[in-house]
Symmetry: C2
Subunit: 192 residues, 2 copies
C-alpha cells in the first residue's frame, strides 16, 4: 500500500464535528470543513465523497460519546435522582460553549432529516438507542418508585422532553429554566 493518507482521519473528523456543531448541517459547506479540518476540499471529496458522508461519520462519533455519557450519569440509586442527573447532563451539553452549541441531533433532525434519508435514519437510530439506554437504566434501579406510565412509554417521554428542552434552549431559555422544566417532568412522571 503506497499512496497513503496525509492527514489524521480521527483528528479531521473530530474537527469536522466541531464545525457541524457550530454551524449546523445545512449551513456547513465543504469550504467550512476544509478550513476547519485543515484538509483541502479536493482531498475531502476524494476521501469521503461529500458532506453527507463526512457528517455521518462525525455524527457516529458524537452519538457514541453522548450515549456513553448518558449511561454513566443514569447509573445511580434512585430513579428520580438518575433522571435529574440525566437531564443535567443534557442541559450542560446543550448550553456548553459560547454561543451555546445547542443539541446537534435535534438540530440535524429538524434541518436535515427530510432531505437526506441516511441522516434521518442516523438520528432516528440515535434516539432509539437513547430511549433504550434510559429504559434499561430505570429498569435496573430498584428503589420502589413507580412511574405513572409503563417504563417504555416513560423512557420515550423522557427522550422527547430532552428534544423539547433542546428547542427551548434555542429560543433563549437559560440552563436554570431548562432544569425547572426537567424537574417538572420528573416530578410528574415519578410521583412521590
Amino acid at each position: 500500500m503506497a499512496g497513503v493518507r496525509q492527514f489524521d482521519e480521527r483528528v479531521a473528523l473530530d474537527r469536522a464535528l466541531d464545525v457541524f456543531e457550530a454551524r449546523g448541517f445545512r449551513a456547513t459547506s465543504m469550504l467550512d470543513l476544509a478550513a476547519g479540518t485543515g484538509v483541502q476540499r479536493g482531498s475531502l471529496y476524494h476521501a469521503y465523497g461529500g458532506k453527507e458522508e463526512i457528517f455521518l461519520r462525525a455524527f457516529q462519533e458524537y452519538t457514541d460519546r453522548f450515549l456513553a455519557g448518558a449511561a454513566e450519569v443514569l447509573d445511580r440509586p434512585g430513579k428520580r435522582a438518575a433522571l435529574l442527573a440525566f437531564f443535567d447532563y443534557c442541559i450542560d451539553t446543550f448550553a456548553a460553549g459560547s454561543p451555546a452549541r445547542g443539541c446537534l441531533s435535534t438540530r440535524t433532525a429538524v434541518e436535515a432529516a427530510t432531505e437526506s434519508p441516511r441522516t434521518e435514519a442516523a438520528v432516528r437510530a440515535m434516539l432509539d438507542e437513547l430511549e433504550t439506554v434510559v429504559h434499561d437504566a430505570l429498569a435496573a434501579i430498584d428503589d420502589g418508585v413507580t412511574p405513572a406510565v409503563d417504563l417504555r412509554a416513560a423512557a420515550r417521554l423522557v427522550v422527547t422532553t430532552t428534544r423539547g428542552i433542546a428547542v427551548m434552549e434555542r429560543v433563549g431559555h437559560g440552563p436554570a429554566e431548562l432544569r425547572e422544566i426537567a424537574a417538572s417532568l420528573v416530578t410528574s412522571l415519578m410521583a412521590p
Copy 2:
C-alpha cells in the same frame, strides 16, 4: 397616491408562508419566494427589503392562526380532555401535507434563531404566548383535577412537550406514536 402595488399583499404573504412551511427558513431563497408568490424578485426586495422581513410577516400570520386554534381546542370541560385535544391539534398540524409539513416554529427556532435575533424573538414570543394560552385555559377549567406541579410549570412543560413531539415527528414517528407520547405526559401530569 399613484403608483400602486400590483399584487395582493395578503395572498402573497399567504403563499410565502406555504413556501416557508415546505422548505424551511434557511432553505428558502428569494427565488423560491418569487416563484411561490408569483411576484418578481425585484418587487419583493422593493416592497419588503428581504427574506427576513417577509418571513416575519408571514410568521405573524401563522402565529395568530395557530394560537387561535389552540385556544379553541383547549376550551372544553375537563383538563385531561382539553390537553389531549390540544396535542391532537398540534399533531394534526405537524403531520398535515405530504411530505408532512412539520412544525414551522420549531423548525425556525432550531435553524434560524441563532443567526437572526428578530426571528429568535418572534419564535420566543410565540412560545411564551402559547404557554399563556395553555395556562389560562387550564386555569379556567374547574374539574377538580390538580396537576402534579404548579400550573405555570405545567403549562411550560406542555409547550416543551409539543416541541419535543415536533422533533420526534421529523425522525419518522407517526401520528399514533406521537399521540401516545402526549398521552403519557397527560397521564403523568394529571394523575387520576
